[in-house]
Structures are given as C-alpha cells and as structure tokens.
C-alpha cells in the first residue's frame, strides 16, 4: 500500500492508503505504487484514478499540479480536484481557461476527450 496525500493550496483534501493511483503526468500517465523510484513531475489536466485489484475505486478530475513520489508516499499538489462525476463541460471550461491563463498549454483537449479517455484500460 502507498500513502496517497492530495493537497490543495487551501487544505489537505484527503490522505489514505491505496494500492495504486494512476496520475496524468505532463509527459504521460503513470501509476504510483509502493517502491517507485523517487520522482517529481508536473500534472496536466486529466483524470486521476485510485485502483485496487485491477479495478477503479474512485476517479477524479485534476486541473493540473505537481506530484512528488517517494518510496511509500505519493504527494499530489493539485490546483483543483473534483470527483469525476461532479465535472461537467462548464466547470471544465473554467479550469481550462485557468490553465491557459497560467500559460500551461500542455495537451488540454476538450471535455469529452478528457472524460472519455480514462488513463487505464
């Protein structure tokens, strides 16, 4: 199990032990599992999934951020995070505009592209 800690500038959103978390890294999705080599990456807007025994337990929409991965800890610093079911095209548009303002032009994609493209099979 790996300790997944999701933090926004305002507060700690949640912290729990998970088997595996799939994150939308800036240069491609990656899975955070125990004993991963130390790793720091930025995130592009996309889906984050928490998985156990090969199925998705929860999925979230992340508008971008940073992740720091250590042996037993995965710290995700997000700008915004919502359960995927709460995201609709209007608030997606909002965070997209926000990203553009930030000058972050990494693969934004349309709402449908993000929502219908889960980072796992």
């Amino acid at each position: 199990m790996i300790n997944l800690k999701v933090v926004s500038p305002q507060k700690v959103i949640f912290e729990k032990e998970v088997e595996m978390a799939v994150l939308p890294g800036a240069e491609g999705d990656f899975a955070a599992m125990p004993n991963h080599s130390p790793f720091i990456s930025s995130l592009r807007p996309g889906q984050m999934a928490i998985m156990s025994s090969n199925k998705v337990d929860e999925s979230f929409f992340v508008s971008g951020g940073l992740v720091m991965l250590k042996e037993k800890v995965c710290e995700v610093l997000v700008d915004q995070i919502e359960p995927l079911s709460d995201v609709n095209s209007s608030n997606y548009q909002q965070s997209k505009t926000y990203q553009e303002l930030e000058g972050n032009e990494t693969a934004l994609g349309t709402f449908e592209q993000v929502v219908n493209n889960p980072p796992y099979k």
Partner: protein
C-alpha cells in the same frame, strides 16, 4: 457640581460602547480560530512545494543555470515591497506597527542606493501610502473571504512576474504581521526575489538524500514551480496577516472592554456621590429653613 442627568447619559453611552467592543471581541475571537485553521491547513501545501523547489534547486549545482527570477539580478536597483495591512481599523497597533517598520526598511533600502516601489494589500495601507510620495504600483482591497484571498494572491503573483520581466523591479520582499500567538504578532519580511535562503537550505540535507527523477526536465518544471511558489508564499503571508489582524483586534477590543468597565465604575461612583450631595444639600436647606421660623 456635575449635572446628574449628564452623568446618567454618559454612563449609558459608555455602557453601549462596552457592548459593542465586547461583541467585536467575540467576533474577532471566532474569526481568529478560522483564520488560524486556514493558515495551518495551507502550510502542508507550502511545505511540500518548497521541499520540491529546494530539491530541484539543490540538484542544480551551478547556480548560474537557475533562472534570474530565483536567484535575483546581480545589480539590483529597484526593490518592491508588498505590504499586508488590514481592511478595517480598531485592531490596536496592527497597522501602525507595520507602517513604522516599513518606513525604516524603505529608508534602509534608499540608503543603499535603491529605489523603492510599493504594493499595498488592504484598505489601510492604500490610504496611508497614498499620502506619501512613494511609487505605488498596485493596491488590493477587500480581502474578506478565503476565495478572495487566494484570488488576490494570484493577482499579486501575476503583477510581480510581469514587473520583473519588464525590468521594472529587481527585488521583491513581502511584509506582513507574523502570527506568533494570540497576544503577539511581529512584522516580518520575506524575500521572494531572490528566493530567501532559508527556503533553499532548510530541507537541503533531506533533499539530497533522495535523488529525484524529474519529468518534464528541470527547467520546464522550474518554469511551472516558480510562479506556483510565489503564489503559495504570498497566499501564506496573506493568511498569516489575517490571523494576526483578528488576534490584534481581539486583544485591543478586550482592553477596550475592560477600560469601559473601569470607566463605568468611576462614573457610577461620581453619580452616587453627586446624588447624595444633592440630598444632603436639600436637607440642610429644609432644616435651616425650619430653624429660621
């Protein structure tokens, strides 16, 4: 001899003042609790971010490789000071302490041959510095909700990045009242450009143990991290300042309530003495009138 009616009015007006100050004290106390929680819960993000930044910067041995915005310009001529005041008064020496401190800092900088620009946060600072001949680059007001605080921090960040890129400023410091405890707040400076030393060296030993892989490469990551770090530092100072403001208001309103209480006691004493004096005088008049007959 004081007028009885006047005294009575005076007492009732002091009483209502006391009600107001004690209500303000309660409000400040409850707001303080919230502000403190916010400041504490935002610390996790800030700490992680500065850890990442320091492991990144620590990884780059040659500081010449680091962007100017992190290390500062060599010949810095213009410093920007961001002053975090409150929007409202009645909080004791909160703002005046800050301004006095800033004045010293500014003349220090000017003594070193630098020119100083000011950015104000909160109504008190903007109205105070309007009267001085300092160059105010921007003013931000009405930080009355947490969302607004974040929004303002973001605007400040954008503004300083823009000014730095246009070579209008070379250094940026931020001044805020650091929340030490509910009864003590101290004006504190934090340097944003160049990045203050404690920020880079704090976790250095720890950061060097784990050698991280970076994705995308360091420079791209820095490009993303630097503004993010500004935002977090500014946001943190805004939160600290708001916690301090409520704490300062709480103590000063507590004092005011106590003073009002003392004043009421004194006035009531005078009132009673005056009343008794009147009665005695009337009695003397009656008795001497009766004796005369």
């Amino acid at each position: 001899m004081p007028n009885l009616k006047e005294l009575k009015n005076r007492i009732s007006s002091v009483k209502s003042t006391r009600k107001i100050t004690s209500a303000m004290k309660m409000v400040a106390a409850s707001k303080l609790r919230r502000a403190q929680e916010l400041a504490e819960s935002s610390r996790v993000y800030a700490d992680s971010l500065s850890f990442i930044l320091s492991s990144l910067a620590g990884n780059t041995k040659n500081s010449a490789d680091l962007p100017e915005i992190l290390t500062g310009r060599e010949n810095s001529k213009i410093s920007l000071l961001i002053i975090n005041s409150s929007d409202r008064g009645l909080c004791g020496g909160f703002n005046s302490n800050l301004f006095r401190n800033a004045k010293k800092w500014i003349s220090d900088q000017q003594g070193q041959g630098k020119s100083v620009k000011i950015m104000t946060v909160g109504k008190k600072a903007s109205s105070f510095y309007k009267k001085t001949d300092l160059d105010i680059v921007a003013s931000f007001e009405d930080l009355n909700s947490n969302d607004r605080q974040l929004q303002v921090s973001d605007e400040i960040k954008n503004k300083i990045m823009e000014l730095f890129e246009n070579n209008e400023i070379d250094e940026v410091s931020i001044l805020f009242n650091k929340f030490v405890s509910a009864i003590s707040q101290e004006p504190t400076y934090q340097s944003l450009i160049p990045l203050s030393n404690e920020e880079t060296s704090e976790d250095e030993s720890e950061a060097n143990i784990a050698v991280f892989e970076f994705e995308p490469d360091k420079n791209e990551l820095l490009e993303y991290l630097v503004p993010r770090n500004f935002l977090t530092q500014i946001y943190r100072s805004v939160l600290e300042s708001s916690a301090s403001e409520h704490a300062a208001r709480m103590t000063s309103m507590d004092n005011a309530t106590r003073n009002a209480g003392d004043m009421i006691d004194r006035l009531t004493l005078t009132y009673n003495r005056t009343r008794q004096a009147f009665i005695t005088k009337e009695l003397i008049e009656i008795i001497s009138g009766a004796e005369a007959v």
